[in-house]
């Protein structure tokens, strides 16, 4: 008999079921296959042992099997609806596992199943066949014992197998979703770094430079080479030295310098003592790109970009400062492309150092104006060194 609470909670249960319709269909088809196989097996087994007609055995076995399935899944659904209803009542979102949350109610479901399943099943089968089976309360009857044992074993095996299968399936679905998200993030990272506009403009400049100044064109081609290689492999390497990080930034800025001409001035300031410090590769790249793209490139007169590294007690401070348009000049642009770059840096810092690192973006705060992006990392980082 279903509990009154489960009955009242039926409508929300229906919505929970609707939300997990695909999983429900998968579960239902698996349950059906299991039930049919088990019932046929039990009927064959019984008729082989006591020699009764296979037809009658099938009817009894199916009637009991079916009522067990109805009781177990009914109770589980009711339980899922109840938990979701309670969560909603407490103002929490519905359980992310949806219909699957009902597996927590599987123990009461099993008990109910053992109590109700055989009674209802035998009752139905008696109606269909016109037989009168002995009461199940006569535990001394061997037939009763066989029926109860088979019911308990059968439902235990099916519930264990089905719940394991479903758990595996949802774990696989979660893993696939995570994999997909990771791939998308990598693609977006690559796309933002290998921005086609930057690439084609750089190639266009190189094309002209080859005619005007071949040695300089060759030097620029080498820079482009290093920049592309670093960009393509950045997500795979763990750490590189700060000196190498500054070299990559210098490559990018040399290419931008070729494009922007006198509109771009560059200052790189890396103290000798900090050259060997390990940092995540291309950490500064999105910040430098933002400074160019949103600060200096759209400014008619251009300006300066200064990148400096300093030790501040237990912290390593990396600073990218430009004298460009400033933060309030480009809020819509920063919200899209630039916003992604900043988010990328923040995410990487959070993954690598947790709360011990951070990124701030602020107006430069002096007469020259512009923007300063500051990254703080732990100076001695044994954990990820």
């Amino acid at each position: 008999m279903p509990t009154p609470a489960a009955c009242e909670a039926a409508p929300p249960g229906a919505t929970a079921l609707g939300a997990a319709a695909a999983r429900w269909r998968r579960h239902a088809s698996r349950t059906l296959v299991f039930m049919v196989t088990l019932c046929v097996a039990i009927a064959l087994l019984l008729s082989a042992f006591d020699g009764g007609g296979l037809g009658t055995k099938l009817i009894y076995s199916f009637a009991i099997g079916m009522s067990c399935v109805v009781v177990i899944d009914g109770t589980r659904l009711g339980f899922a609806a109840l938990t979701d209803g309670l969560r909603r009542w407490r103002g929490l979102p519905a359980s992310p596992s949806g219909f699957g949350s009902g597996w927590r109610g599987v123990v009461p479901a099993m008990l109910l199943c053992i109590l109700i399943g055989p009674f209802v099943g035998i009752g139905i089968a008696d109606r269909l066949t016109g037989n009168r089976s002995p009461s199940l309360f006569q535990l001394d009857s061997p037939a009763t014992r066989v029926t109860l044992t088979l019911t308990v074993l059968g439902s235990l095996v099916s519930v264990f197998a089905l719940s394991t299968l479903e758990r595996l399936a949802s774990a696989r679905a979660l893993a696939e979703a995570a994999q997909r998200q990771a791939t998308e993030a990598r693609l977006r990272l690559l796309e933002s770094q290998l921005e086609p506009h930057m690439l084609f403009n750089t190639l266009a400049n190189l094309r002209v430079l080859i005619g005007l100044d071949p040695p300089r064109a060759q030097a620029m081609l080498d820079r482009l080479n290093d920049y592309l290689r670093a960009t393509l492999y950045a997500s795979r390497a763990g750490h590189q030295t700060l000196a190498a990080e500054f070299d990559r930034v210098a490559d990018y800025l040399a290419l931008m310098g070729m494009r922007m001409g006198p509109r771009l001035q560059v200052g790189l300031d890396l103290p000798e003592a900090l050259r060997a410090r390990p940092v995540p590769p291309l950490l500064l790249q999105p910040l430098v790109e933002n400074a160019i793209k949103h600060g200096l490139e759209p400014k008619v007169d251009g300006g300066r970009i200064d990148i400096r590294a300093r030790r501040e007690g237990a912290a390593l401070r990396l600073e990218v400062r430009d004298t460009g348009l400033g933060l309030d000049a480009a809020p819509p642009a920063l919200a899209s492309a630039g916003g992604f770059g900043l988010q990328l840096v923040r995410d990487r810092l959070a993954t690598l150092y947790g709360a011990r690192a951070g990124l701030t973006l602020a107006p430069a705060g002096d007469a020259e104006g512009g923007t300063t992006a500051t990254v703080r990392l732990p100076f001695d980082d044994r954990a990820s060194g």
Binding site: P196, A204, V208, M258, G261
Partner: protein, 266 residues
């Protein structure tokens, strides 16, 4: 006819020099009247020098190539043939699709000599066709209307503006949008004019437009947006310029060539 002259607007010096060198080989008769590195100077120099051809980079500091084209089309003096415009861009799928759809001349960077040669041939043919020269302006206006229309068509994402907050010292004026008669761009600010007074807000017309109801607020100039129900009359003067009289304001507001077609009698 004198030797044709052109203007090159390109913010990257090497690319400007490269285009100039390639043009010198492919079109020796073309004189480069000016080379500028930003959109505002492109407009200023083109209006002053009146070249027959303008090469406009799309992405330039200050004012984009497209914005420069709009300003030229709006402010070009009457009776002077409008220059042939060629847009130059490195990579912009959407812009290129729109250019193709409107048969706009464009070059893709890096500019290949073969493509530049084809472009030069087209330009020379158009310049030679004296009758065609007259409707260059009309053709450009039609193209720009289509291009600008596609650019401002994406206003679903932005939140509708209902009240404008304008701060003066420590006082914030709350101006309901329906009380605004017109908006006018003024450098980095926007003038917001109601029947009673004028407010200044720190917002560009480009940021404002997607947040206004396009049915209620009409752009009539690159720097002016008018509430349609406040327009009393539109008067066309001898040179074809359109002046709008507005309910609640004594001054008139000019509608540019680009938007004057909205004020034709039915």
């Amino acid at each position: 006819m004198n030797a044709p002259r052109c203007l090159i607007a390109e913010d990257e010096p090497l690319l400007a020099a490269g285009l100039r060198a390639d043009l010198a080989t492919l079109w020796p008769g073309l004189e480069v009247a000016a080379m500028v590195g930003d959109g505002a100077r492109a407009v200023e120099q083109a209006l002053a020098l009146r070249p027959q051809v303008c090469f406009l980079d799309i992405r330039m500091p200050g004012r984009s190539g497209l914005d420069a084209a709009q300003a030229l089309a709006e402010d070009w003096p009457d009776g002077v043939p409008f220059p042939l415009l060629v847009f130059v861009t490195a990579y912009d799928q959407y812009a290129l699709q729109a250019f193709d759809a409107q048969a706009v001349d464009y070059l893709v960077k890096p500019v290949e000599p073969k493509r530049l040669a084809a472009c030069v041939n087209r330009l020379q043919a158009r310049l030679a066709d004296r009758d065609g020269a007259a409707d260059t302006l009309q053709r450009t206006l039609d193209q720009l209307r289509a291009l600008l229309g596609t650019r401002t068509g994406q206003d679903d994402g932005a939140e509708r503006l209902t009240v404008i907050q304008s701060q003066v010292g420590n006082l914030v004026h709350m101006v309901p949008v329906e009380d605004v008669i017109y908006f006018e761009a003024a450098d980095k600010y926007l003038r917001v004019l109601t029947a009673e007074r004028e407010h200044l807000i720190r917002m560009s017309l480009k940021e404002l437009l997607p947040r206004l109801d396009a049915q209620a607020f009409w752009q009539v100039h690159r720097g002016t947006v008018v509430q349609a129900r406040c327009i009393v009359s539109a008067r066309r003067d001898d040179s074809g310029k359109v002046h709008l009289t507005l309910r609640g304001r004594t001054e008139t507001v000019a509608a540019s060539r680009l938007y004057a077609h909205r004020f034709r009698g039915l």
